[in-house]
Amino acid sequence: MSNMVNLTINGIAVSVEEGQTILEAAEKLHIKIPTLCYHKDLCVAGNCRVCVVEQVGNNKLVASCAMPVSEGMEINTNTLKVRNCRKHIIELLLTEHNEECTKCYRNGHCELQELAAEYQITNQDFIDLVPDKNYTVDRISPAIEKDDSKCIRCQRCVRTCAEIQSVGAIAVAHKGSEMKISTVFDRALDEVVCTNCGQCIVHCPTGALTEKSYVEKVWDAIADPESHVVVQTAPAVRIGLGEELGFEPGTRVTGKMVSALRRLGFDSVLDTDFTADLTIMEEGTELLTRLKRALVEDDPDVALPMATSCSPGWVKYIEHKYPEYLPNLSTCKSPQQMFGALAKTYYAKNVKVDPQNIISVSIMPCTAKKYEANRPEMKDSGYKDVDFVLTTRELAVMIRQAGIEFEKLNDESFDSIMGTGSGAAVIFGATGGVMEAALRTAYEIVTGREVPFENLEILPVRGLEGVKEASIKIEGTVDDWKFLEGVELKCAITNGLENAHQLMDNIKNGESFYHFIEIMACPGGCLGGGGQPYPVDDEVRMKRMQAIYNEDSDLPIRKSHENPEIVQIYKEFLEEPLSHKSHKLLHTTYVKREQY
């Protein structure tokens, strides 16, 4: 057991583990200390200074987020001195700030605004510094907008991009009054190494970093009588959306979400889970084919490990940072893009609508998907496969705008075709989910038996750990797959690009060998995506993860290859996995990009 330290906060005694901070000790006593630069996911910066408290015997105030507790410490969090200083600090931040809250994307969801309200900053005693600032707004990227006039320079984004994502697209530039968050040579985010993962957005306390919103465009499409607007919803949206609309983290709102989408006026409410199942069929077959070429044909050109490709943030990351591994990337498009390509071909034919009139919208927990939909190659249907991508947060905006009382909605079901998904598809939303889904199907194809895990739950691949490893021995193979008999299939799973970076370095150095790796750009996988509700930390992510696995175990069909709509599409349209048509519509190529 570690040493306990005794201290008092506002006269109340508390005992906490050595090494904890005053802020953590106060939390234990349910004393709230305001913070801005502090975030549980990140290392401590101690730069905003709103968390200052008084320590008896210290002639300076101390930053409670950065100050470790010590024996006998006496802390006061609410003295006149503390309050006056905090108020000053908030006032100072506001003088540098373009405080047009009513015209701000984060209006109502902003930590600075909340704090200003809490401290009732109604005076403007100090001089407004904004007119003399040369603030820039970067709206070039299809996914992310950066407005320096809303930035409080807390560096949460910088720490996120470096620590969690190991990308380093944004950094602090200049000093003194000119200090700002910038990119290499002050280029637009779209022109640097940024993966569009949106983690910086989720960690930004203000409106300085936001998604590019397509809400108005989608309203326009819905209002256009000529358009047939289809919408697909990713697995992680149904377990995140509730947080924006009055539910506790980890609440499953699938049925209400479908019902709300219908009321918004979408012509057809469909499910990305369908193409998640399709991804398993294609990617699983691709893996088995690669294994066959490597093990039976001794083909030296086959690239192993095969890496998943459904996270567009990860795809852009590998294109920038490990281009030599592009052949390892599965050629499968992400479920969103498979869906887009099928919406304007298979679906159009089926419902007899001219694909030209189809507007395909997707609701994603992700900002990188906005970027992905705009990649020039994503036009295999002959049209732009996915027209508009909205985040979970943007969907909540539409629901509120439409005056829908979300909590009161009844549960409804997805339309068909392309509206049915298995439990294996739902778990795509959690780190390890693609791996688990793929194993459920591939193992069964190869051995004719279910994966040897109780209730199909492959526990070793689940959880929030940075790098998970699993291996599964293939035994009792059916005739077609005899070459895999006795093979120990080695897999690894990571979430967050910093972990991906570690894993890729291990592979590169030859320290580890795997057949198959699953990589998701965001912490926790899509459930912790850059388009999900804020605030977020591990506790919230765990609750969302639990919701995903509950959704899976409640579904009647748990394996992708048993999804009847999947059976149907191969029969009526695609023929078989990796067929010519699949290749044309469901697979893609990648490009090498600059390091910075």
Binding site: V44, A45, G46, N47, C48, R49, V50, V52, K60, L61, A63, A66, M67, P68, K81, N84, C85, H88, I89, L92, L93, T95, E96, D125, F126, I127, L129, I152, R153, Q155, A171, V172, H174, K175, G176, S177, E178, M179
Partner: protein
């Protein structure tokens, strides 16, 4: 009013170019660590980089850390405008600084040392390198496993702050760290580190040579020894002077002023302005003198005569801070901008004179909440100038 003019006590210890470096080192290295630490503690030497932390205690605390790798760093960033005493020391008596580093290294258990040299002092490098080669030979001869390297600074004033200096050496942006932990525990490369000013290290040589007792004979209670000052401004004799600590500002002005001295800025931009009426009641040294106010200084003494506008002086300091703040923390980054804009607005009549009081309150907040010494000390010059020369700020 003092009527008898007292000649200031000029000292000649630091720049005395003694050639007995090897002997001093040999003797110092032969003594036990405890003995040397005691000598340093007893000398009463305090850091000459500005903060005035007891040097012996710093060495002791670092020595007590049970970690394999430690570092000694000589802070030669000397970014304070108008200060150039460290440059002089490194030019004229570099072996004293190096000897101080070597003895410190032996005591704390460091094998590697660095001189963090201000970017503008690049021209010192060839000479320093030559000196280093000679010095390394001496160390080899004496059997001490210690090497010193020169690290070129980035040019930002804030990089003189010890934790920002470490960040900068580690290839990161020069931003001060949270304290605690202090460098004695977690410094460069997260290892226990002694970081001392150039002059502090040179004084340690004096102490090792002449003993703590001799050193203590100079100065007054809590401010022992001599100090090198960079005297500038309205003085007929600008330059570098080694003087005894504890002198009164009056005595200093009598010696260095031009007969019309209105005020003296002690300690550069982050120091205090002493107006004429306080000359007699203020002395130069560290906190703790029995009577009157005692002001520490990294060495800068700037003299202003009655032709100077105190508004301009303050304006210059605030310009400097607004630009040299690293910009990470709110009170300092925004506070400096507000102070600068604020005094301009008062001067132009856009804000009432009472706005100065609001700015004074703001400097209190900066002092209490800024993350490092830079933001905390802006209040010093601001309040001492505004309080003493309020009319000059307004009209």
């Amino acid at each position: 009013m003092t009527t008898t003019k007292k000649q200031l006590h000029r000292i000649d210890l630091i720049f005395k170019n003694e050639q007995d470096c090897k002997e001093i080192l040999r003797n110092a290295l032969a003594r036990s660590n405890q003995e040397v630490i005691n000598e340093m503690v007893n000398s009463g030497l305090k850091g000459r980089g500005g903060a005035g932390f007891p040097t012996g205690l710093k060495w002791k605390l670092t020595a007590e850390q049970k970690v394999d790798e430690k570092f000694v760093i000589c802070n030669a960033d000397e970014g304070e405008p108008g200060t150039f005493k460290d440059r002089e020391i490194l030019t004229r008596v570099p072996h004293k600084v190096l000897s101080g580093m070597a003895v410190c290294a032996k005591i704390i258990g460091a094998r590697k040392g660095y001189i963090y040299l201000r970017g503008e002092y690049k021209f010192l490098v060839p000479n320093l390198k030559k000196e280093l080669r000679r010095f390394h030979d001496i160390l080899d001869e004496l059997g001490l496993d210690f090497r010193v390297e020169i690290f070129m600074g980035s040019g930002a004033y804030i990089c003189g702050e010890e934790s920002a200096l470490f960040e900068s050496m580690e290839g990161k942006r020069g931003e001060p760290r949270n304290k605690p932990p202090f460098p004695t525990e977690i410094g460069y490369m997260d290892k226990p580190t002694v970081i001392n000013n150039v002059e502090t290290l040179a004084h340690s040589y004096t102490i090792l040579k002449y003993g703590a007792k001799k050193f203590r004979e100079l100065g007054v209670k809590d401010s022992r020894g001599s100090k090198v000052f960079s005297v500038s401004g309205d003085t007929p004799i600008p330059g570098i002077y080694e003087l005894e600590l504890g002198m009164s500002v009056q005595d200093f002005v009598d010696d260095f002023g031009d007969g019309d001295t209105k005020a003296v800025q002690v300690g550069g931009a982050s120091g205090f302005l002493v107006p004429r009426k306080r000359f007699g009641k203020t002395s130069i040294g560290y906190q703790g003198k029995l009577t009157g106010i005692s002001l520490p200084t990294g060495g800068s003494m700037m003299i202003f005569n009655s032709s100077r506008s105190m508004y301009n002086v303050l304006n210059n300091y605030l310009d400097f801070f607004e630009e040299e703040s690293c910009g990470q923390c709110t009170p300092c980054r925004v506070g400096c901008q507000q102070l600068l804009k604020g005094i301009k607005a008062v001067k132009r009549g856009e804000k009432p004179a009472s706005y100065l009081d609001q700015l004074l309150k703001l400097t209190d907040t900066m002092k209490l909440t800024a993350k490092c010494g830079l933001g905390q000390s802006v209040a010093n010059s601001f309040s001492s100038i505004v309080e003493n020369f309020r009319e000059e700020m307004i009209y």
